[in-house]
Amino acid sequence: MKIIVIGNGMVGQKFCEKLVAQKIETLELRVFGEETLPAYDRVHLSEYFAGKTVQDLCMKPMSWYAENSVHLHLGDPVIHVDRTQKTVTSFEGAQFSYDYLVFATGSAAFVPQISGVDKHGVFVYRTIEDLNLIWRHAKIAKSAVVIGGGLLGLEAAKAMLDLGIADTHVVEFAPRLMPRQIDDGGSQVLTEKLKALGITTHTQKNTAVILGNETITGLMFTDGSILSTDMLVISAGIMPRDELAKKIGLPTGHRGGISVNDRMQTSDPSIYAIGECAVHEGTVYGLVAPGYEMAEVVVHQLTGGTRTFGRFDMSTKLKLIGIDVASFGDPFIGHGEARSIVYHDNHKGIYKRINISNDGTELLGGILVGDAEAYNKLQQICAGKLTIPSAPAGLIIASGNTPDDPGDFELPASALICSCEGVKKQAIEDAVVQSGCTSFDAVKKCTGAGSGCGGCTPMVKDIINATMKKQGKVVRNIICEHFAYSRQELYDIIRIKELHAFDEVLDTLGTGDGCEICRPAISSILASLWNDLVIKNESATSQDTNDRFLANIQKGGTYSVVPRIPGGEITPEKLIVIGTIAKKYNLYTKITGGQRIDLFGAHLNDLPLIWEELIAAGFESGHAYGKALRTVKSCVGSTWCRFGLHDSVSFAVRVENRYKGLRAPHKIKSAVSGCIRECAEAQSKDFGIIATEKGWNLYVCGNGGSRPQHALLLAADIDSETCIRYIDRFLMFYIKTADPLTRTATWLNKMEGGIDYLRNVVVHDSLGIAAELEAQMQTLADHYECEWKKAVETPELRKRFTHFINAPEAKDPTVLFEPLRTQKKAAEW
């Protein structure tokens, strides 16, 4: 079977993948693409500016096409089709015959006829090439305007932010943003949220002229107002690419698009059209999900199936610039046909609307902006026409103490939970009750739920937990299949039983042989309890990846080295030592976020040699590889700064030296600022200290990372000794009670009673354990020794730092570097 696909976009590519998966022996699949790149993810195009590469965005690597015998012609569009001979001719003159032809030509950006669209600095937002042009121009632009306040327009606006253009405007012809998805109330909340990010919205604006000589200087609207700008991106809609189809006489819709029936067939039964180039019952679908469904339909048709394309549920949930926006069912129905319940919180920026049938029995649709947590549940209820509670407001307005749970409403057993695999709630309950599944992974394996897009994972987990509770089973927070205990329970038992090695713990408390989850978790507990050397022979192999070789493994298999630089204070002599060592071992050097210096690209064999020299110069391990105290940043403080209240550097050095080497459930970061200007950013740390007129303010449980969270004030205006005592108690309490790999911020978020409870324990000693916590911390501090010093001085340990056991001098020959500016980087994987 010879099949030719015209177009190598997302839908065309998905079609190829689905077809290849059918493993048809006689299949000869050929694809022509106009762009020079293989199919890439257009939905996440803006991530190109946020740091993703073309490679990251590509749906499949070039090797995929070769491995699956898909003949790919890039940069070579089809220019003619002979329908009687069943052949296509490409731009370069290649001619091939087909049994079936599939149009997946996609769409082009719709550019309204405005005078001046040909000026420099005016762009469309559609392809990687467009993005490259925008990128180049953005370097000289301080402001940008996007025409189009729909999905794509807002994506483009986000791209402008990612390019560092702080003054970005969105212009929309309709009276609101995302007019197809949300209503005026939702748009109002969205507008406010965008404003906070630096994006100004102008609705009901119709652009008359683009101003400027050769290069754009601004826009004039039909109401006479003017908006100055350095660049313009047009993202006002799409136009189906149907020109070739028209040329060969295939019927098209009156507003464009190749007309297809329910089987995605054009008027010629051997020619199909899918994706944005197709028009089905008068609709061109500009989203990727219906396009994929069309691809599936054609694969079915070609392999003897009967699947057809019906009305597509356009319910969507997306994160736009970090803001949840969702709509489902009929979001706009009202005016006597339905009744709406609206929750509108301008303070928090949350808008929720649900539309209920007049008799109050059915959910017809709705809109969620700012908080779309309830989307899955609501969409299920709406699509499945499930019975709704008698007080439907509970679906969107939190009741009682459980703000995340939309009321006490329970889904019926027939509710479709995983739409990818078609798994109903009953099947998940059965998996728990009858098959004895007690974890998400087990249920996934048993029912298939959650194995597709994964969007239903939280719902599946909730159903598992609820079903287990109903059965009277205790929902236990155990660490893995080898230990039926939580981390906190293990910590207490290991301490009481005085166990010192992983195998000892496993044989006393667990089953099986351990795994990559429990080994590092228990090693961390052992280190926190006894502060023994983590690389002792019997425990080395149970340490977290980086702890086994006391360095951070990096791309390519080399390691990076971070010596401790307490408080970020370093002498010129020590700087010279670091420089000399980096040169000698050919290491890439970079200043870290924690006021230290990271040396990358060290071969395993070189680590002891590098550390030998560092230790000789007075350096110690920085524990950058461990779930341990990393760094205590500081600003320069009162010793030099004209605003400084206290000597923040000296205090940071003292704090760092007290807690260095401390192992914990996760890494710990800290900082000390010499005044309220907070140059050390102490409020983003696990514990942060800020000088006040009267002493120090101690903040705890802050976090940078993927979910930044400000630290909360634990105690105010305390002296240095009290501050250290409180930190002792705080850290020991965290080490004793947190789950594995839980940062202090998450630990606090899960703690009943929150910061008030924590303050009671740490400051007011409500549990009566303060003295014990302080004593335990003192023991750990007394046991500190630099593990790298020990490693280089002990021949048995040193022997371990080789790549080949039978060629200890040889380095791994597969390690490759590439030049980067005047240094080097790891070769791409």
Partner: protein, 128 residues
């Protein structure tokens, strides 16, 4: 190397407990594991097929429902030490495994599956 394609790798006393080392054999890298807790020996390719990193010998050993496995230190893909199958990602290809034998405290790996009639003579390491 003897006629049945066993190569000497190292002494049992050179091995870390419940962990692996890398053995060089010509241009091949073989990961050798001493799973002390089970008193078992295994060998696999050192290359993790996920991101093509020479890393499995630095991975962590464990078991899943009794099946011995190794976890790659880069992204924690886990592979059965018995048949080389990836246990937590169906899309990830399997790894090669090699037979191991212990004789008088010396460890030998069988490389028959690496050798092909046309390959050049591999470097063999003998006990020192």
């Amino acid at each position: 190397m003897d006629k049945n394609n066993w190569i000497y790798a190292c002494k049992a006393t050179d091995m870390p407990h419940n962990g692996g080392v890398c053995v060089q054999y010509g241009t091949e890298q073989i990961a050798l594991y001493y799973f002390t807790h089970r008193n078992e020996w295994y060998a696999t390719q050192n290359l993790c097929p996920h991101k093509k990193q020479m890393a499995l010998s630095r991975g962590m050993l464990g078991s899943q429902q009794g099946e011995p496995k190794v976890a790659c230190p880069f992204h924690k893909k886990t592979f059965s030490l018995k048949n080389g199958q990836c246990l937590n990602d169906e899309a990830c290809s399997a790894i090669k495994t090699y037979p191991v034998k212990v004789h008088e405290g010396n460890i030998f790996i069988n490389v028959a599956s690496i050798l092909t009639p046309h390959s050049s003579t591999p470097i063999a390491y003998e006990p020192q």
